[in-house]
């Protein structure tokens, strides 16, 4: 299939998709096309779609691509939908999540040691929101559960993959330097 033929079909699929669409799924739908063709078409679609002055963009998220509204129109979109801003995670949950994201796989005891406070409630919230998942057990006495971030974590924070996170060292500014 010609790339110009493929492109609007990809757009339609990305439009209806609930989750980020990855090249593997597209390959299943277009078994006769090479990965290269699919990725070239995707790239071209993103370039063109995102350079038009439209209301939506196609972004790379969690190993796939996803269509969303442009953030700058959030006020008007919210006014139409009559929704309040979504429930935000508490600072405790975000801190726990940061520890898990940067230290994964990690046990509850290790999280406690780093945060210097109990984190089980925050962890439960994160598990319920599927931002964090059980990824195994540590081979030490008691075999504690190991936690890691999920694919949903990438989606929730609009990340392509974990390597897109700044390194922890980039946050090393000393206490008091900036707030």
């Amino acid at each position: 299939m010609d790339i110009n033929e493929l492109q609007p079909i990809l757009e339609a699929i990305i439009y209806v998709a609930e989750d980020p669409v990855n090249p593997e799924q597209l390959k299943e739908i277009f078994p006769d096309e090479s990965y290269e063709t699919i990725e070239t078409a995707l790239r071209k679609l993103m370039d063109e779609f995102n350079s038009r002055p439209g209301g939506m963009v196609i972004r790379e998220i969690a190993g796939g691509v996803r269509m969303t509204t442009r953030p700058e129109y959030h006020e008007h979109v919210r006014a139409y939908l009559k929704t309040k801003p979504g429930a935000r995670l508490s600072m405790a949950a975000l801190e726990t999540l940061a520890v898990i994201a940067y230290r994964q796989p990690v046990t509850l005891a290790e999280i406690l040691a780093i945060r210097g406070k109990k984190s089980s409630t925050a962890l439960k919230t994160l598990l319920e929101k599927k931002l964090v998942a059980i990824v195994g057990r540590k081979h030490v006495v008691g075999r504690p559960i190991l936690y890691g971030t999920s694919r949903e974590f990438l989606v929730h924070f609009g990340l392509k993959d974990l390597s897109e996170l700044p390194t922890l060292e980039e946050f090393a500014e000393l206490a008091g330097e900036q707030h």
Binding site: M91, R115, G176
Partner: protein
Amino acid sequence: MTTEGVPASETGAGDSLTLTLRLEGFEGPLDLLLHLIKREEIDIWNIPIAQITEQYLQYLQVMKDLNINLAGEWLVMAATLIYIKSRMLLPPDPAGAAQEELVEDPRTELVYQLLEHQKFKNAAQMLYTRQEVENAVWNNPPREVMEEAREVVAVTLFGLLRAFHEIVKRFEERPVLQVDQEEISIEEKIADIRRLLLVRDTILFSSFFTEAPAKQHLIATFLAILELVRLREIWLYQKANFQEIHISKGKPSGETA
């Protein structure tokens, strides 16, 4: 370096509204310490430990005055600070110092803990900002194409566990058929225990004796447990002497699947 204590408005319980607001920000002892260090513009590599300890303890006192429940970690940190302070006061033992290559500053571990904590606080801030951006965008697939996916849940291991937890809760809340309060038989008690062991691996021996309404129940329960032990459906064990007796399903051999 300033040596002034905590300003009056932050020590006395007089200005309690500001205090409450301020204290709410400190989720844990490390947050409070970082705040104190920032406010006093202290060099983190040279913390005046006596001053910081004093201020920390004053905050703890204020929290106690305000009836704020202090979690154990606050007291652990107080103990740590006092310990470091006492170590700093001791003149270095010349004999010991000679043996060790370098006498470690008793504050070092705490400093690294604080620096690490600060990094994660900053990382959390970054996640917060990203979340704000994501909260401003919508992804809205047309509803009709999703119909096949309605009323289904994607399953995680945690989801599976939570489902089981809910079933167990529901199970335990189910009313048990009570035929006659007075005539409770051993057979009925055996059935009760078997029923409970359907959803639990172990039951505390004592749990049978906390809510039993009458002496007959206690005796019937006790005899039922003995009978089930004889039938080898259950076994009893203690993790240590004088600890709770557990009732467990199956054989003590502890076979695994």
